[in-house]
Amino acid sequence: MSGRVLVGVKRVIDYAVKIRVKPDNSGVVTDGVKHSMNPFCEIAVEEAVKLKEKKLIKEVVAVSCGPQQSQETIRTALAMGADRGIHVEVTGKDYENLGPLQVSKILAALAKKEDAQLVILGKQAIDDDCNQTGQMTAALLDWPQGTFASEVALEADKIKVVREIDGGLETIKVNTPAVLTADLRLNTPRYATLPNIMKAKKKKIANVKPADLGVDLTSRLEVLRVEEPPQRQAGVKVETVDDLVGKLKEAGRI
């Protein structure tokens, strides 16, 4: 066992930012918008770092796919306690078409190359809400998967995972190597403080191209339209109870 954990981190538009759709409906506005690490990826990083602090694993490697700015996200992961980073550089058209399938191919290739014992990802990203990358990575590697994990315990050569499922919890045991995806209640991620960000600058980030990993990034999906959700209709003020009853009758509510 290598004791190495691969953690995927995604750079997304910050959760607190109001999302705007581009006027031509081709996507959302990303220029000049604050980006940060996907909250579920933060939980994944925290879990890996916790496992390392308990000395159950030896090394935490943070991976991100995307343009130059993705390095900031990796830096945040390093500040949270990851040991080193891998930046898979994907730019321009390829980045626009980068979906869960392409990312999972990259992650699967890296997991093999780095001889990882575990791959921990966030259950989904808050930008595309796909919730597929972990599952696809497990499928491509033919490894067991523990998705929506709300509790993870390493036991010898097995991992006990408590999963959040509809209306309750499910406890499973999987063999290693495995792919885990983090749910919201798994842990409370630590904050990347300024001193830690500074210290993280000394840690190494390797730059890799998808071609070096032998990964083909062609996408089979085409985005047709991106639209804003329907706006909420304005309400009306009524003067009297009779008006109210009349309006409600009109709307067919009573």
């Binding site: 959760y15 607190a16 909250p39 579920f40 808050i126 919201l184 300024l194 001193p195």
Partner: protein
Amino acid sequence: MANPLRGEVIKLYKNLLYIGREYPKGSAYFRERLKSAFMKNKDVTDPEKIKKLLARGDFVIKELEALYFLRKYRAMKQRYYEQDK
């Protein structure tokens, strides 16, 4: 003038300034408050008192971290999980 704790105080100020960038009411609002809070105690020279103030600053950092976490957690919970009583 050159207090041995001077470096510590500057470090605390920098850390607070950094963490304040994410403050919900905006970093400008936070910076103003931060500066006035530090200026209020600029004449403190007693090392014991400065140490107490530094500890208070560290406490504020901890509180802010907790605030940010809770804010994010609540946002995620509202968006992705059904509200169950």
